[in-house]
Amino acid sequence: MSSAITEHRDETEHADHADEVRRLERREGWNRRLPILPALIFTIVVTQIPFLFTLFYSLTDWRIDTPEPREFIGFENYGALPDDKFFRDAAWVSVQMTVLAVLLSLIVGTALAILLDRKFFGQGFVRTLLITPFLVMPVVAGFLWKSQMFSATFGVLNWVLELFGFESIEFATKYPLASVVVVLVWQWSPFMMLIVLAGLQGQDTSVLEAARVDGATTVGIFRQITFPQLRPYLELGTLLGAIYLIQVYDHIDVITGGSPDSKNLPFYIAQRSIGGGNRFGLASSYSIVVVIASIIIANIGLRVLSGLLEDDS
């Protein structure tokens, strides 16, 4: 809240002493920007400049395993993309994996947050149990599910299946995409849960009580009061979840080793370039497509969030 108040005051000051503020700002402008510069420059050098290289590579036929010189071929790599079956498959896996993992984590996380948002014996302990999967190293999470839960011979899941008289299934081979998504949801619902929990606990209880006194039903209160208040938190969860889940690599590597049905674009790109494929030019064009798609999605996401920021102030 305090930032909203300061900002509001800043604006009235702007109106009142616009000239003086402008003069001060000019003098202070560099003093204010200076502390940001190191972080800004570091970020640009390490993340943006390599990206420009990728853009350049994507316009060449560069293979790192042949002595042939790197030749500029324009948009040829991009032109070939629509006919590239492996690229299309990987792109489709990326879409399915990201959407499924984000949505399911959000749903499970919200349900868990609502369950946790009440006083009961051991509340803090259960919350701690629930967030732990998020803290686990993805490599460990993948290994643990693959060989100790999914496995047909030693897996607990199959042991339970057999208990009920079903045949055991080698989940990671038979349902590779679903297996990876299950592990992702296991790790990310706790994260969503904590964000939604922060939203629920920031609720104004007097409003809720007033609604209850006025005879509102539980469902009505949730739909009309709680949900609108939770919206920014749900959007934040979606945004952060998407940022990380679009880039999933570790889980795939460990659980399926990148079998065709579970190979997303990041995995495929690494495989075709530094992972031994050596086709730096072609793989770079894949990267650029991923980046452009991410930027489009991110822009929509950020615009929604910034719209909320504007409403507040």
């Binding site: 305090s2 300061t6 700002e25 003093n31 204010r32 920007r33 200076l34 502390p35 940001i36 972080a39 800004l40 570091f42 970020t43 390490v46 993340t47 990206f51 990728t54 609502i114 369950l115 009440r118 006083k119 009961f120 014996f121 259960v126 919350r127 149990l129 629930l130 732990t132 999967p133 803290l135 190293m137 490599v139 460990v140 290994f143 643990l144 060989s147 100790q148 030693f154 607990v156 904590l194 964000i195 929990l197 609720q203 209880t205 920014p232 934040l236 880039q247 690599y249 570790d250 674009l265 990041p266 690494a270 530094i274 793989a283 990267s287 991410s294 999605i297 950020l302 910034s306 909320l308």
Partner: protein, 289 residues
Amino acid sequence: MALFTRAPKAEPILGQNRVIAHVLALLTWLIGLLFFFPLFWLVLNGFKDELDANSSPKLFFDPTLDRFSEVTEDTTGLLSFTEAFGNSFWIVLISTILVMALAIPAAYALAIRPMRKWRDVLFFFISTKFLPIVGAIMPLWIIARDLDLLNTRAVLIILYTAMNLPLAVWMLRSFFAEVPNELIEAAQIDGCSLMGQIRQVILPIVAPGLAATALLCVIFAWNEYFLAVQLNPVEGSTMPVWVASQESGRGNFLAKLSAASVLATLPVVIAGWVAQKRMIRGLAMGAIK
């Protein structure tokens, strides 16, 4: 009765009925235990013989610490436990210090003495997170190779700093924004210098937020695998690479791998347990405020 329900502070969403309250509490416990079960099983397997681990699931067995000593004392592979732990420790520590050193001034400037268009700057930082790392991995590999940085700790320190910086700026800004402007103005009127303001007014208020942010950076850096395995797959590498390398041995390795997993996971799990509430408050406030 009193065992399960304490006096409710705020009205919970799901009704007031006593019986329902008990059922829901029980359900929450069950789900919590279910979510934790795979980790419980992992720890259990770490204490088993390979024979017990590599059979149909067993709950009762003779627990042994042998697997833990095996994985920590084994030095036959490219990367031993002590090497990996040391590498991870230094890489995570130094990159987190760098992140904080870069992010604190930036967050201070964005929150307490905001310039015009500060929101655009903040969005720029966040938007760099949207650039999937695969978009830069090839040039990074080439640059690292040409600078002789492949298989060094330095390359991971630099990249983990860049990886965590946007998140840190975002979280820290929201913690800095919590400092009441009146306090800073009062300190200014009392003739307090800038450093004095920072040390005596601002730091005490944001200190818990700084700790939470640093911990989140530690967690992400400690668990990172993709960059580590691509740019630094051998002796200079980190714990996730060490865990993954435990799989490739001959014969049965399930119990051994479980023990290694437990050792690799424990430090950040404990850190996360300690910081859980603040971490999320910072993340949530970053966007909402």
